[in-house]
Amino acid sequence: MVWWWAIIVILGTVFGVLAVAALSTMLERRLLGFFQDRPGPNRVGPFGLLQVAADAIKMLFKQDWIPPFADKPVFFIAPIIGFLAVLISFAMIPITPSWSVAGHLNVGLLWVFGMMGLHVYSVVLGGWSSNNKFALLGAMRATAQMISYEVFMGLSLLGVVMTAGSFALSDIVEAQKHVWFVIPQCLGAVVFFIAGIAETHRLPFDLPEGENELGAGYHTEYSSMKFGMFFLAEYAGMALIASLVTALYLGGWSGPILPPVVWFVVKAFLLLCFFILLRTALPRPRYDQLMAFGWKVLLPLSLLNTLVTGAVLLLRAGA
């Protein structure tokens, strides 16, 4: 890669992700409105699109309050960790064959998982340093939920990695030339998507925030742009999971006629909409039910998926 092209790709990805995160808040609010028989925000600018700008301005200029009882350095650093972890993960996503920061990296998937592991710290530290009981309860739930669901997430992917024979995301996309992995790996795809919802703590798995129980959960005490970073990290996380599912199971950029970037964006966009549809449709399970579902249903399913994939691959290699 030429150095100037690399810089363009890096900057383009960073700002692209930020723009997508900001716009998906808008998408979510308009879609929620659509699903719920109401207009949603439609007053600022054409179709209410400038609402995003208005929200950003509000977020930046609000009083940035650090509670006197908080652990200040940790309180400060927690949202940054979360935001960066999600942003850096995007480096591995191959959007098109030519547009990707490090899609060819041979530890691509492991890198993404490492960053997701880091993301847990942002929630835990944020909740802990706030020195607020609701935040603490939220952080406690988040820790258990995210660590558990990372396990199933990783296991569910083993099938894909075994079939493609690589951890690099662009290799995995290439390996789907003939058939998308969502067909042979359908079990893994479902487990991965569910775990992805839990990982981004979106409804129905938004227990760390669970506003009806915990007010705002782990970010109760956060305001202004620090809250904004948690907020953007959540939406960027949604986009990340959508992009990962696209790359890992839906053939990434591949598709007929239209240029690759359009195919990638369309697939990821539809997945984002599905995220939002889930949020409108489902209630929130209880904390212990969520954990039981993970360990008693998802774990055996992902193990079964790995086992069957391995067996099929071995049989094929033998034949």
Partner: protein
């Protein structure tokens, strides 16, 4: 033969009291509302109550209140009045309607009675309220402290010598020191409620939920003792919505208090007018015309629908499902459109009048109502699929917050919360008022007494309300919408121009309001959330001498700690959501 008649008038509980040895009961009182009423000395009241409770099953302490008798002029002859009267109202939930009222006179300078919290657990809050507002001391009460008023309050506002309006006082000021003192007083002290700070192997976390919290439906505060996410114990704190509705009733004419009742259960609208106007009608001896009766039923059922819709939507939202509340509130908007077209007002129409309703139904009301009756059932079926059959909703609510019929009666639970335990008891069937006996409808029951069943009963009741409204639509009688009674309406305006006598009566009736004959009357209805009763005392004035408002929400809320113990924080939200209450209805 006469004795048999006498016994049937008394009911089983009254018969028990009548059969007690003569030294235990002071005398019997004849009342306008025909509730068997006995006077008992405070030395004997515990024994009498114990005897009544033991003589049968499902006997509820329906209400407990106090009346300041010191300024009462029209006291019935031969009754042993003291400075205050403590009134116990019992209702049997076993078989036909069976009420009993026991009155205990206490001297003004020594206003004490023994507590009965060991007989009925729900006496706890009722006694605290009577002490807080009337200053009657209940000896032996485990925690006799302020419940409606702030802990720093001085005086007992329902006493007749307590001021009723801020203008009777010097201007109110709040200094910084006072504010800090008030705030300190609200701090939660676990030891004061007998809670430990540590168990053998862990420290408890004390979590203050509310008065500002998304899931407590208003200004309700719950102090939780948590071990992890499990609730060890809970202490509810109420009174943030207290407006002194009972005191206001003593300063408003019989008519002008009607709009205040609307705001007691603010999602219940005219449902609150219902027991009040029926109570006044009993006092005045007014017969309501049939058309007015049916209009009342129809509007009350519309408000039952509207109130149940709020319950349904918010309960689901508390469990994290975001959409149904929007769909259901859209439907509620249709209810309000109809109510507005009939009453001219949406949430608090104050449409009922003593002796009837404010106006006749508008032209073309049938079409609006019919369109709505055709519209809603389909939507309800849709919500069944969306909510009631949703596996996550079931997982969150089934087996959570369970209580039995016996427990419900012990704790004073009525309405859908009682019917969800499998006990078919609806005041509209047991003691049909206002013509409910002519209307065919069923009483939905469920059998497990958990959060899911409470929701289920509410949903089925909405279908039954639609059925009642349809019957009203098809069978609305013709005739006047208001009773021709001098206490119900002033003389017709055109006639006042012809003779001075009519003019005077019109002037007095309009400017002062009607004078109700002295006496007492209680009237009870199956309101949206349970039994709502108004116990009115008239001293022959243009205003009530004492108005006791017994609301279901106040009684139901007391039970929350019992259901919460051992549950998780998330279960608590389901429980709070499923116990249908409105804070204004709790605090009055």
């Amino acid at each position: 033969m006469s004795e048999v008649l006498e016994r049937s008038r008394l009911g089983a509980m009254g018969a028990t009291v009548a059969a007690l040895p003569p030294h235990m009961v002071l005398t019997e009182e004849a009342t306008r509302d025909e509730v068997p009423t006995f006077w008992v000395s405070r030395g004997q009241i515990r024994e009498v109550l114990k005897a009544v409770k033991r003589a049968g099953r499902l006997r509820m302490l329906f209400d407990l209140t106090a009346v300041d008798e010191r300024q009462r002029e029209h006291k019935a002859a031969g009754l042993p009045y003291g400075g205050y009267t403590v009134v116990y109202h019992l209702t049997s939930f076993d078989g036909p309607l069976d009420d009993l009222r026991l009155k205990v006179p206490v001297p003004a300078d020594d206003a004490t009675v023994p507590t009965i919290t060991d007989l009925w657990p729900n006496a706890n809050w009722l006694e605290r309220e009577a002490w807080d507002l009337m200053g009657v001391v209940f000896e032996g009460h485990p925690a006799l402290r302020r419940i409606m008023l702030p802990p720093t309050w001085e005086g007992h506002p329902l006493r007749k010598d307590h001021y009723a309006r801020a203008t009777e006082r010097p201007p109110f000021t709040l200094t910084d020191e006072d504010m800090m003192r008030e705030q300190e007083a609200l701090k939660f002290d676990p030891e004061a409620w007998g809670m430990k700070r540590h168990s053998d192997n862990s420290d408890f976390m004390f979590l203050n939920v509310g008065p500002n919290h998304p899931s407590v439906h208003g200004v309700f505060r719950l102090m939780l003792q948590l071990e992890g996410e499990f609730i060890v114990d809970a202490v509810p704190d109420i009174g943030y919505h207290h407006r002194g509705a009972e005191k206001m009733a003593e300063r408003q004419t019989w008519h002008s208090f009607i709009p205040y009742t609307d705001r007691v259960d603010y999602v219940g609208g005219v449902m609150n007018n219902f027991p009040y106007v029926m109570g006044v009608e009993k006092l005045a001896g007014i017969t309501v015309p049939d058309r007015a009766k049916m209009i009342r039923i129809m509007l009350a059922e519309f408000f039952r629908l509207s109130s149940h819709m709020v319950f349904y939507g918010t309960m689901i939202q508390d469990l994290g499902q975001l959409s149904p509340v929007f769909f259901i509130f859209t439907d509620r908007e249709h209810v309000f459109e109809i109510i507005e077209k009939i009453c001219g007002f949406r949430m608090h129409p104050a449409f009922f009048r003593i002796g009837g309703v404010a106006m006749d139904l508008p032209k073309g009301w049938e079409g609006e109502v019919k369109a709505f009756l055709d519209y809603l059932p389909k939507r309800l079926d849709e919500y069944d699929k969306l909510v009631m059959q949703n596996p996550i909703f079931k997982a969150r609510t089934k087996g959570v917050g369970v209580y039995s019929t016996e427990e419900a009666v012990e704790w004073g639970v009525t309405g859908p919360g009682l019917r969800a335990t499998g006990h078919e008891w609806d005041y509209r069937k047991i003691a049909p008022y206002s013509g409910y006996d002519q209307i065919p409808f069923e009483v939905p029951v469920a059998h497990n007494g958990d959060c899911y069943d409470r929701a289920l009963v509410h949903v089925e009741e909405m279908r039954q309300s639609l059925r009642i409204i349809r019957y009203c639509l098809e069978n609305m009688p013709e005739g006047p919408y208001k009773a021709e009674h001098p206490l119900a309406m002033p003389p017709p305006k055109p006639r006042t121009m012809h003779d001075i006598e009519t003019l005077i009566h019109h002037f007095v009736g309009v400017s002062w309001g009607p004078v109700m004959p002295p006496g007492e009357a209680r009237s009870c209805i199956e309101a949206t959330k349970g039994l709502n009763s108004y116990y009115l005392t008239s001293d022959g004035g243009t205003m009530s001498y004492r108005t006791r408002i017994r609301t279901p929400s106040f009684i139901h809320l007391q039970q929350i700690p019992l259901l919460a113990r051992g549950a998780t924080l998330a279960d608590l939200i389901a429980i709070v959501g499923s116990v249908d209450f409105v804070m204004a209805d709790v605090d009055r």
